[in-house]
């Protein structure tokens, strides 16, 4: 593992780089470092924002004499004590998905472009265990690592102006779920009836950065039944 690199992110945050690119091992290290920092219950810590290969540490500048130094000392100390992990320390959640048809308008196209039938595409998409590499774009939108490399497809040439809430989608090597109706250019394979983000809940986001996810195929009846369950 390369040495961490530090960059100021404005006057109240430091961006810690643990590597480059999209690499599950580096991302696992980002989440392990995030967990280690969170466990310290630091009074000056305002937020920890993990991403693919980096972690932003937001602090209360008034409480620290030399924030850059404090953060870099802490990170070096925590990384030195960390064993290399291949897997993120997060929980494993099952996300039910109704694939195809009106629930996943791009499934048929995606399957034919990949030269497989729909059932095979569904089987391969739901066989993987994904990691929530980071949450962003919109509140609760998980960027998932772990897509079968054989399912790589470019984004839509023309993004949709309206993607339905709960849409389970892929783009390039990435997979994700749209928490609420929004514009989007990813390919829609299906929909989950689960509510990914609800600011009124004690845990507003269903998924936390570092969590692991498995998609479970369900039928349209189950989708309707689950959608009505609060």
């Amino acid at each position: 593992m390369s040495a961490p690199r530090f960059e100021p992110l404005g006057d109240d945050a430091v961006l810690v780089h643990l590597g480059e690119g999209v690499d599950p091992a580096i991302n696992a290290r980002v989440h392990a470092l995030t967990a280690a920092l969170r466990n310290l219950d630091l009074p000056w810590l305002r937020d920890l924002v993990p991403a693919y290969a980096s972690l932003a540490v937001f602090f209360d500048a008034a409480q620290l004499d030399d924030p850059a130094r404090t953060v870099s000392d802490l990170v070096h100390r925590l990384l030195a004590g960390m064993t290399t992990t291949k897997e993120s320390p997060g929980a494993l959640l099952e996300v039910p998905v109704c694939y195809g048809g009106t629930h996943g308008e791009d499934l048929a196209d995606a399957a034919s472009t990949l030269g497989v039938d729909e059932a095979t595409l569904i089987a391969r998409h739901s066989a993987a265990i994904y990691t929530v590499a980071m949450i962003g774009f919109a509140p609760g939108f998980p960027y998932l690592l772990g897509l079968d490399p054989g399912l790589t497809l470019p984004r839509l040439a023309t993004p949709r102006t309206r993607v339905p809430a709960g849409s389970v989608a892929i783009a390039g090597a990435q997979a994700g779920i749209y928490p609420r109706e929004s514009p989007g250019g990813w390919r829609l394979l299906g929909r989950t009836p689960l509510m990914l983000f609800d600011p009124a809940r004690a845990r507003p986001s269903l998924l936390q950065p570092g969590d692991r996810v498995r998609f479970v195929p369900i039928g349209a009846d189950d989708f309707t039944r689950l959608e009505r369950t609060p």
């Binding site: 404005g10 006057d11 937020d47 924002v49 980071m134 949450i135 962003g136």
Partner: protein, 314 residues
Amino acid sequence: MTAWQVLAAGAQTTVQDQGRHGWRHLGVGRAGALDTSALAVANLLVGNDETAAGLEMALQGPRLRLPRACRIALTGAAVPAWWNDVPLPAGRPLDLPAGELRFGTLRDGLRAWLAIAGGIAAPSVLGSRSTDLRGGFGGLEGRALVTGDRLPLGDGTTTPSVRRPTFPSWWVDMDDAWTFDRHVLRYLPSSHAAAESLAAHAWHAHANSNRQGLRLTGASLPAGEANGVSEPVAIGTLQLPPDGQPILLLADAQTVGGYPRLGHVLACDLGRAAQLRPGEPVHFEPVTAQKAQTLVRDHAHRYARVRLAIAQRR
């Protein structure tokens, strides 16, 4: 509960406070007033805690029906304001009888803030009453005001019953936007190759700017090879998309982004950035980390002096 009736919403009027903290890891941005100090001062003027929720208005203010007497204050850009047909000054506590409160087109700037004694009693969501326009929550149903809305008010200090607008002869002129040139924004350059050349060119605020970002037009800066991997961003981050036209991220910005970063505008200058009207010129001035610390401290001192002055007057 007392509520103000929205007779006309204005161009974009939103409920804001000091913003939402501690949720960026879930993709939830700060939101909150684009000039947090200006809203805080308005709150102090009416006797609120500085964290109370008020209104942020842009370009064209709203028209409101006040069912009972209240105390308000205005800060930010110059905004023509009337109670019924009586003109109202900014920067001081205003005691108003029941009636109609009306705002005109903002001058010399783009945004102004209104505080009301007791605050606006929008529900607190994730620790803040601010409107998150992107997420669609907070404030009034997660959106800007529309005609016909009712704005619930908190229980304020009892406003003395007055027959016409009543206000002191003093006022505060707190905002460094009016003592410094708002057309210069100071920033900490990043290590990006084009970071320093941002300062070498003249820029203009683009009409497509909003609470998410101030879009700049001017020379096209070389964005270089982006690695495309999204990384956390902050309020104040200067992003450089492939078209070479930088974007300054403001309070409603997303939490991660894949564009190269040219640097970060100092937090104490962001209130000024919020006042730039479409087409207005803007320059960027690089500062060292040490200088930035001094400037941020100066801003805090200026705010502390205003706070003290208000406390002594009240």
